[in-house]
């Protein structure tokens, strides 16, 4: 795991302590760049952040166009893993990279708590 700036470590710890989570990141929603990260070796943080930022931006516009308001939580399930994201009001995305069979409910709960910490 790589080090996160002080203050954000607490938020990332909440997420990474869940079994099946390979890493957690704070990502600037507008830019898709990494603010802080705690990732296992082999996870490409910059790529995950760019993907999360891009998807969040497009989803946000789609939700707005559909009259559903701002997105709260989204979950991308892939063959070899999952991406779970919660947006904080400060414009930060709290992102978890997890095993495919992770407890999604628990991760969601910790992501929401982490979002409160960085809000």
């Amino acid at each position: 795991m790589s080090a996160a700036p002080a203050g954000y470590g607490q938020a990332l710890d909440l997420v990474t302590r869940v079994r099946g989570v390979r890493g957690a990141m704070l990502v600037s929603a507008d830019d898709g760049i990494v603010v802080a990260e705690q990732l296992m070796e082999g996870i490409k943080g910059a790529a995950v952040a760019a993907l999360a930022g891009s998807v969040a931006s497009r989803l946000g516009r789609a939700l707005e166009a559909a009259g559903l308001g701002a997105g709260v939580f989204w979950h991308l399930q892939a063959e070899q893993g999952a991406l779970l994201v919660v947006g904080a009001p400060s414009g930060i995305l709290v992102v978890a990279v997890a095993e495919p069979d992770v407890n999604v409910g628990l991760v969601r709960l910790e992501l929401l708590r982490a979002a409160e910490v960085v809000a």
Binding site: G32, A50, G53
Partner: protein, 156 residues
């Protein structure tokens, strides 16, 4: 939107970068501002201005880095309300090149541009002719070279 190259080896990496990063306008040029490839520009005068300004910004920041006794800055990003401008250098066998990318914030982001710029840099390094000696820009040839390049870049 058209993508054209004066030096053919730059075309494929550029097309791939534009597609993946969602960039609106891109120039690949030498550090002197000689354009090797472009995407999205419709007027020669815009290419000339953008190349001259991009090369000048890179030269200025390189000088600032030198004054600070640092290695040259890797990349510069300037973000406005609707567009972002990304400027970065690439070392190739053809010499040091400069890439200028303009992206819409609705379509792309700094993260995406940075991510796929790394791929562009690797692709340009791999594709650049290994045995070529960078051609010196001579004042006598400058106007003719510029006209030839612009004709190629705009399919004339």
């Amino acid at each position: 939107m058209t993508t054209r190259a004066v030096e053919a080896w730059t075309l494929e990496p550029l097309v791939k970068f534009v597609k993946e990063a969602g960039a609106r306008l891109v120039l690949v040029m030498t550090s002197a501002g000689q354009v090797l490839a472009q995407h999205g520009f419709s007027r020669a005068v815009d290419v000339m201005s953008a190349a001259a300004l991009g090369a000048a910004i890179m030269a200025s920041t390189e000088q600032i880095a030198r004054e600070l006794r640092q290695t040259p800055f890797a990349a510069l990003n300037h973000q406005g309300q609707r567009h972002g401008i990304f400027l970065a250098g690439v070392a190739t066998s053809r010499g040091r090149l400069v890439t200028l990318a303009v992206y819409d914030l609705d379509v792309s982001s700094l993260g995406l541009v940075q991510l796929f710029f790394e791929q562009l840099a690797a692709d340009l390094q791999a594709a650049s002719p290994k045995d070529s000696v960078p051609k010196q820009v001579l004042a006598a040839d400058f106007e003719r070279d510029l006209t030839d390049s612009l004709n190629t870049l705009f399919g004339r």
